[in-house]
Symmetry: C2
Subunit: 87 residues, 2 copies
């Protein structure tokens, strides 16, 4: 069974985010005054073959732990969706 996966990897709230801070500093010069708390993370998408969505989620969690994220400084959120048969 095929699944579409989205893993969002964000720096933990306590960790400085220079990319987000740079965007936030640039916004007022462009006329955007009402934006705050900018944080930049990664959105990693892929396709996965697994027996069912439970197994798919376990595999994705392992991939996050072993390759995609650094649990010391990053949080991950996982979305797993089955692909329709017509795809």
């Amino acid at each position: 069974m095929k699944f579409k996966v989205l893993v969002e990897v964000d720096l933990k709230a306590a960790i400085a985010d220079p990319a987000g801070a740079t965007i936030e500093r640039a916004l007022p010069a462009l006329g955007f005054e009402n934006i705050s708390q900018v944080r930049v993370g990664k959105a990693i998408r892929f396709s996965l073959d697994a027996a069912n969505s439970e197994e798919a989620r376990q595999i994705v969690q392992l991939v996050c732990d072993r390759l995609l994220a650094n649990p010391v400084i990053e949080d991950t959120s996982i979305v797993v969706e089955p692909v329709q048969a017509s795809d």
Copy 2:
């Protein structure tokens, strides 16, 4: 009114994604054989003050066009959610 915004910026499908390709090449060595089509994008989160969700969405679209994304090579998707009064 306060809104939480998520902007996902992904390379268009036709554009090469070296980060995604590197992850995809690394996975079999870690024992993950069933993963394909890895793409790495950005997940940008921020808070926004706006009169209503229609205006919030328009502001976010402008921010994407002027700063966050390069429309020649990137696609954006926008999620705008009102923050509950208790926050």
